[in-house]
């Protein structure tokens, strides 16, 4: 009986520690100060006109694995931001747009990807990268010993823009989730001075869905 209780207690402890949130121990610094929210809001809405990436999507569902590769185009105009993913031969997998008020429009998607879960996942990943869909006055700022966490309400949880305080406020990752991150984006810049632009490369990891996106900037071959 005693052995059973000890084992049950041990299992309960292990289970509970696995359920704990990584955001639980963070210290709350400020709450909804408009000027801080405004500064941060613009800091992580990348400023760009056009960027091209070589991208691969890898995933698996049950026993089936899938792999897509192609070119990811980010373009910003006066009135909108667009993201188009095409295969290497020019066929578009999807074409997403957001207007100046961050309203989303699906311009095009292939039938194989036109499933609510796929569309929602891809849209959220890109919105996190583009800093789209957040309310400026809803920012909360938290920190721990090594990082600052800028938190916005997003989807069914929150989006966290996490800066490494030891690395001079470099954005080290973006997370989205409720108690735990469902998705983590790791952006990389070769030059820290370019932090306001889109990253030189990025990785998107979905922790529950077994699905990753890797992307690296390239230059169009025009003029070569």
């Amino acid at each position: 009986m005693m052995r059973f209780l000890r084992l049950s207690s041990l299992l309960a402890i292990i289970w509970l520690s696995g359920c704990s949130s990584p955001y639980k121990g963070l210290t709350w610094i400020e709450h909804r100060q408009p000027e801080v929210g405004m500064e941060h809001y613009y800091r992580y809405r990348p400023d760009f006109s056009k960027e091209l990436y070589r991208a691969q999507v890898n995933g698996g569902f049950l026993f089936k694995k899938y792999h897509l590769s192609g070119i990811l185009l980010f373009k910003k105009t006066d009135t909108s931001r667009r993201v188009v993913f095409t295969n290497e031969m020019g066929f578009a997998f999807f074409d997403f747009g957001w207007d100046s008020s961050d309203r989303f429009t699906l311009h095009q998607i292939i039938p194989q990807m036109q499933k609510r879960a796929v569309l929602s996942t891809l849209r959220k990943d890109l919105e996190l990268l583009l800093g789209v869909g957040f309310e400026k006055n809803k920012l909360e700022t938290l920190h721990n010993e090594t990082a600052m966490f800028y938190k916005y309400p997003y989807a069914s949880g929150s989006a966290y823009y996490i800066e490494d305080t030891a690395a001079n406020t470099t954005l080290t990752r973006i997370e989205q989730g409720a108690r735990k991150p469902v998705v983590t984006i790791y952006p990389f810049w070769k030059d820290a001075a370019e932090l306001r632009s889109l990253p030189d490369s990025f990785i998107v990891i979905h922790h529950k869905a077994n699905f990753t996106i890797t992307a690296k900037q390239i230059n169009s071959a025009e003029g070569e």
């Binding site: 070589r54 792999h67 105009t77 290497e88 031969m89 095009q108 169009s220 025009e222 070569e224």
Partner: protein, 211 residues
């Protein structure tokens, strides 16, 4: 028909009938043209060419450009190799296809898919000069002083889902394909321009290996 091929991969589109292209008129003597085309093409043992591919995004008023090399060897071997600004390779050999990007190599048996067989067949029909007899496309031929234009519209349901139209531009002098344009339903199109074409050179078996 020389140096003719089709882009592989998934394509969205439905069939739309085409009006007469600007600057072109229907070929005056179609039967003679078909004969000449087939005669010229059947004499080709191999083709090697450079290409520049430009994807035009109509709504964004923007384009994406890439470059590479194209190889064909009679009867059924094709290699499309992208070199700039990314590496990507497609090899077709008989009914087998290999696709290779920086991360992964995939091998596909086209015989398992009617649509893939259609794509495979039209590419090889263009190489062999037998495109007019392909049941999956309606082919209309036009001409002007310097070129011929073959306008291909899908005729079967499977291919209709892939293409709106494919236009193949041939030089009048030697029937070399110097441009290929593939149009999607939404107005986007992909253009491939060919240059430095060489005919009947020795092409190594290794170029067309799919295993």
């Amino acid at each position: 028909m020389r140096n003719t091929f089709f882009l592989l991969g998934l394509l969205l589109c439905t069939f739309v009938a085409t009006a007469q292209p600007k600057g072109f008129k229907p070929v005056a003597n179609l039967a003679q043209f078909q004969q000449t085309l087939q005669k010229n093409t059947s004499a080709q043992q191999s083709i090697q060419s450079d290409f520049v591919q430009t994807k035009h995004l109509s709504m964004l008023a923007d384009k994406i450009t890439s470059k590479g090399k194209f190889y064909y060897r009679k009867e059924d071997k094709v290699r499309i190799e992208y070199t700039t600004p990314f590496q990507y390779l497609v090899v077709m050999n008989g009914g087998q296809m290999m696709v290779k990007d920086e991360q992964k190599t995939s091998r596909i048996n086209t015989r398992g898919s009617k649509t893939m067989q259609s794509v495979n067949r039209i590419m090889l029909d263009c190489m062999r000069g037998t495109v007019f007899s392909n049941p999956d496309f309606k082919v209309t031929a036009y001409e002007n002083a310097g070129s011929y234009l073959l306008s291909l519209s899908p005729a079967n349901d499977g291919v209709k889902k892939l293409f709106k139209q494919i236009d193949i531009f041939l030089t009048r002098t030697n029937l070399d394909v110097d441009r290929l344009t593939m149009t999607e339903q939404g107005g986007d199109f992909t253009d491939m321009a060919f240059s430095h074409t060489q005919h009947n050179i020795a092409l190594n078996d290794a170029l067309f290996k799919v295993k």
